[in-house]
């Protein structure tokens, strides 16, 4: 195997970890509430802008920016749940789609109005540049995002499978009336789910901001990948999103390098569709 090929695969894994990172919030909301959050990409975008603001106001890097973004977005998640989601969940599917899509546009153009259309960027090397291991170049910022992706996935997985809070959330997802009879408040559980999902998404945005450009429409560019990652991984499966993210990252990079970048999406989506043909519930989703 040629050396460049190894570099391509390593790059693909790091990229895939990032995909997984910004998909975990979506899979939680999608799997638990059956709500497709079209504003997901714009939550990522908000996380990026929070990181940017934290840097310009306090000169602080992602170590401060990421927790602040997570906290602010978690708050926003709760507000969005009580202000919008709780009501549209009772409505038809179309209301959910249009509701979250409207939210996406509202967020996107509020940022557009406040910050303008200019591209922004955090300074290069805010996380310590690039280092070489056996000649392989690894960006510290991407590695950090990758490590955090693993931690977030592990954390969410443990939360859902090992804690009573997780069990309550899953109970609500399974049958909210029955959960209510058992003394669980579905509203509280779902608000918590939204807070966690939005918080994880904000965290992802703040970390992606360390190596990507920041612009109000960036959610559009990133959002679509999140949807594919979640459906490939299996709706509601957090580890599934991680495996799917890594897979998509590596396949994208390999096909871009070996066949050509204009064909990489064809390869990824063709494999994606043929996979769903055999396993519609995704890699790790329950059938």
């Amino acid at each position: 195997m040629s050396f460049v090929l190894v570099q391509v695969i390593v790059g693909g894994l790091l990229l895939g970890a990032v995909y997984a990172l910004f998909s975990s919030g979506l899979t939680l909301v999608w799997g638990m509430m059956n709500i497709v959050n079209f504003a997901h990409g714009d939550f990522v975008m908000l996380g990026m802008y929070v990181a940017f603001m934290v840097f310009t106001l306090f000169g602080a890097g992602p170590l401060a920016g990421a927790p602040i973004a997570a906290l602010l977005l978690a708050t926003l998640g709760v507000i969005v749940y009580f202000g919008l989601i709780r009501d549209i969940m009772k409505g038809p599917m179309l209301a959910q789609i249009l509701g979250t899509f409207g939210l996406a546009l509202l967020l996107r153009y509020s940022v557009f109005w406040w910050f303008g259309a200019n591209f922004l960027s955090l300074p290069q090397n805010i996380v310590g540049g690039t280092f070489a291991v056996f000649g392989l170049r690894i960006e510290a910022s991407r590695l950090l995002a990758g490590v955090v992706a693993l931690l977030v996935t592990l954390g969410l997985h443990l939360l859902l499978t090992r804690t009573s809070l997780g069990s309550k959330m899953l109970a609500v997802a399974e049958d909210s009336t029955a959960a209510q009879l058992m003394g669980i408040r579905p509203d509280t559980m779902q608000a918590i789910a939204w807070a966690i999902a939005a918080g994880a998404t904000g965290l992802a945005g703040a970390l992606i901001a360390t190596f990507f450009y920041i612009v109000p429409t960036v959610g559009e560019t990133l959002g679509i990948v999140a949807f594919v990652t979640v459906s490939l991984g299996g709706f509601g499966s957090v580890p599934g999103a991680l495996v799917a993210g890594l897979l998509i990252g590596v396949i994208e990079q390999l096909s871009a390098y070996l066949i050509g970048a204009v064909y990489k999406d064809i390869v990824v989506y063709a494999l994606f569709l043929s996979f769903l043909w055999f396993r519609p519930q995704g890699l790790m989703g329950k059938s």
Binding site: V4, L15, N118
Partner: protein, 416 residues
């Protein structure tokens, strides 16, 4: 009684005359439609185009004696139409060919504009101008460069900017010059997106260069990429002597960041305008793109010159320095309004005839073109470009050809 009636009539008559007077003053407005990407991924470029056109409106609609003999500046409004003011209706094409087409239709049928200008992305200009052609409304593109735009046999389409065939010559002559000075220039990589702009410019350059015996490596990618690592690795492996970038802003920024991360510096990096002229590009990644060459037709002249005055007005308007794309937009708009002024009419056919008769000299232009004169396809045959270089990572300086150069070209590419 009779006197009262008479006075009453007099009052009514004077009111009527006043109203009529107002109506005819309102008639003296020339409505022009401008289609640009005001939202979406190219909004940065689109909004700068809007600012540039607003500066042009200020110059046209108000008296600007400080601009001297610059066309349309001296008096307020259009002299050819009895001092009529120009009004521009801006429409957002969202960077989408379909939206651009709908907006052109809306501007023509509902806003009743007499001419159109736009639409930044070649792919959008392609569809929007087809509507203008159908309705017999002049469409001038100041900045879309895809070659096929003027190959459609359109009668109502005009283009002021230099196009891909002009760039091929500029790039080839520049490379020949650099080769004479000892640089290696035999293997060229063309990195381009898959939009109308990216593919058509890349095709024209490939054909032109291959005829001259240069080796061309084609590195295509899908625009608005989430990642460009593999493209950069491909370049790093193939080691071309010269890399030419044909990219919009978002991808241009991503390439700059990724090239630094992968520690890849080509010996010579040339950008084909577009994203690399966006002020956002300089602010975000200018410092890690030191030494990149860029195509341009704009340069701020000496203090007090019309171009310096215009650059000042523009900076006051939007806070950014004038860039080549915004300047080409402004120039195109001025050429269009100049034609309307000469036509002395808002009738589309007369404006079309005046556009065809356009013959502007270099001293009547803000851009470094050799003039503006359209051939039968609507292409400005006197358009030309120079090369500028980002030597300090903050501002471009003119470096080639020697006659226009403020500094000598700096080689090799420095990066960061």
């Amino acid at each position: 009684m009779k006197l009262k009636q008479f006075l009453g009539l007099l009052c009514a008559a004077s009111v009527t005359i006043m109203l009529a007077g107002q109506a005819s003053a309102e008639d003296k407005v020339v409505k022009i439609g401008a289609i640009f990407p005001l939202t979406g991924n190219a909004a940065s470029a689109g909004l700068h185009a809007k600012y540039a056109i607003e500066v042009a409106m200020d110059i046209i609609n108000n008296a600007h004696p400080e601009l001297g003999d610059f066309p349309l500046a001296k008096n307020a409004g259009l002299a050819g139409l009895g001092g009529a003011k120009v009004e521009v209706v801006f429409a957002d094409n969202q960077g989408s060919p379909a939206t651009g087409q709908n907006q052109a239709l809306r501007l023509i049928t509902e806003e009743k504009v007499v001419a159109l200008v736009g639409a930044y992305q070649s792919g959008v200009t392609l569809t929007a101008s087809a509507i203008a052609e159908k309705y017999g409304i002049p469409f001038l593109t100041p900045e879309s460069v895809a070659a096929n735009l003027t190959e459609r046999g359109f009668k109502w389409f005009f283009r002021t900017t230099p196009i891909a065939t002009d760039f091929v010559k500029v790039y080839y002559d520049f490379l020949t010059d650099m080769k004479a000075q000892g640089a290696k220039t035999d293997n060229i990589a063309l990195v381009h997106d898959n939009t109308e702009y990216g593919t058509s410019v890349a095709n024209t350059i490939t054909t032109g260069f291959k005829e001259k015996g240069l080796n061309v490596l084609d590195v295509a990618y899908v625009s608005n990429a989430t990642d460009v690592q593999s493209q950069v690795l491909q370049l790093k492996e193939k080691q071309p002597d010269v890399v030419i970038m044909i990219s919009y802003t978002s991808d241009a920024i991503l390439f700059a960041k990724t090239m630094q991360a992968q520690d890849y510096k080509p010996a010579m990096l040339i950008a084909d305008d577009a994203g690399y002229s966006d002020p956002s590009f300089l602010k975000t990644v200018g410092k890690i793109s030191q030494g990149v060459f860029n195509r341009s037709s704009w340069s701020v002249g000496p203090e007090g010159s019309p171009t310096a005055v215009i650059a000042d007005l523009y900076k006051k308007k939007c806070g950014d320095e004038m860039d080549d794309t915004a300047a080409r937009d402004m120039q195109g708009f001025l050429v269009l309004v100049d034609a309307i002024d000469r036509a002395g009419s808002t009738e589309p056919a007369k404006i079309q005839a005046a556009l065809k008769a356009t013959d502007l000299k270099p001293n009547q232009l803000m851009m470094g073109y050799k003039g503006v004169k359209f051939d039968e396809k609507g292409q400005n045959i006197l358009a030309s470009a120079i090369l500028i270089q980002l030597q300090d990572g903050e501002n471009y300086v003119a470096v080639w050809p020697k006659a226009n150069a403020a500094k000598a070209p700096m080689l090799p590419y420095k990066g960061w």
